[in-house]
């Protein structure tokens, strides 16, 4: 048996995992907070993406919007991560073989690499295009990838529960 599967099955038997599963309220309550956390993360990221595409807040410098949004994106991310982890702990055994869950994890990895590349490349010269209505092609490409990836993450996240049943 693969090590990862072994770990998932062990987590499934822990006290935390069984107690979330056994309570009729825990799972849906955590799930709702997870969804609202996603709204905070994706909503704030989408606002920056839409600015990069020149669709909103055109008069505001990109870097200023990014700085103002970031704390709330991270706050939402913390909520999303902790609740997501709890949901996974409760369902680790079934998640392991769930293709929607696997796809979501790959997409999460990609959506993490995207801003990394963005910040290490085109965003370094943000002072040269901070006020531009239409930002450089690579910045717009990062914005579109971010929007598409996050949308897919939401879709696959919802699919996890449909695939499970």
């Amino acid at each position: 048996m693969p090590t990862l599967q072994h770990i998932c099955e062990w987590i499934y038997t822990t006290h935390l995992s069984t107690s979330i599963r056994q309570s009729p309220y825990s799972f849906p309550a955590i799930e709702t907070i997870h969804t609202l956390g996603i709204a905070a993360v994706v909503g704030t990221i989408a606002i920056l993406d839409l600015r990069l595409l020149g669709l909103i807040m055109k008069k505001e410098p990109v870097s200023r919007i990014a700085r103002q949004l970031l704390p709330w994106t991270w706050a939402g991310f913390a909520v999303m991560f902790v609740t997501g982890l709890l949901l996974w702990i409760a369902e680790s055994q079934t998640s392991y073989s769930n293709w929607a869950f696997r796809a979501k994890m790959v997409l999460l990895l990609l959506v993490g690499i995207n801003p990394l590349i963005f910040h290490l490349t085109i965003y370094r010269e943000v002072n040269t295009w901070d006020l531009a209505n239409v930002t450089p092609r690579r910045a717009r490409f990062a914005a579109v990838s971010s929007l598409v990836l996050w949308a897919s993450i939401i879709v696959f996240g919802r699919l996890i529960a449909y695939v499970n049943t």
Binding site: P28, E31, T32, T35, L36, I38, A39, A40, V41, V42, G43, T44, I45, A46, I47, L50, I56, M57, E60, R64, R67, Q68, L69, P71, W72, G76, W150, A151, I154, V155, R158, L159, Y162
Partner: protein, 160 residues
């Protein structure tokens, strides 16, 4: 009430309602659209309210944030309402008597009546008058609590 029952019955019997009820994928697809709209809508609502509370986006004035994000909050709420009506059309009577659904609709009407006049009044002004700041902050807190409660009651619908 009788009007709402009649309207719901009619909605469920339209071609669209029957299609959504009979299709194996329609409901799931519409629900995903509802969630995608929630991401945009929720994020922009939070930011507008946080700006009123002086907790975020402070480089721009509250009216500027309210104005710039108005297309997202209004577009978001329209997308959520349309996808919501479609989910409802797939089985109106299942939801009509669902207490969580009833609560969600009542809270939704209250939230609409509090949040959107607030954001639209702010969007039209140049700055929030000092005497009105308290009012805007109270409304922003009410708006945040209401939208969160709507999210929760929405999830509960599926469990009742």
């Amino acid at each position: 009430m009788r009007f709402l029952v009649a309207l719901s019955h009619w909605l469920g019997q339209t071609h669209l309602g029957v299609f959504i009820r009979d299709s194996s994928y329609a409901f799931a697809a519409i629900e995903m659209l509802h969630l995608l709209a929630l991401a945009i809508f929720g994020g922009s609502i939070i930011l507008v309210d946080l700006r009123f509370l002086n907790l975020g986006f402070k480089t721009q004035t509250a009216p500027a944030v309210a104005r710039e994000l108005l297309p997202l909050t209004i577009g978001g709420v329209i997308a959520m309402a349309i996808s919501g009506v479609l989910m409802y059309a797939g089985g109106p009577m299942r939801y009509f008597n669902n207490p969580a659904f009833q609560l969600k609709m009542v809270l939704f009407v209250i939230a609409l009546a509090i949040h959107f006049p607030l954001q639209m009044i702010a969007a039209r002004s140049l700055e929030v008058a000092p005497g009105r700041q308290r009012l805007f902050q109270a409304a922003a807190v009410a708006s945040l609590l209401l939208w969160f409660a709507i999210g929760f009651s929405g999830r509960v619908i599926g469990y009742l």
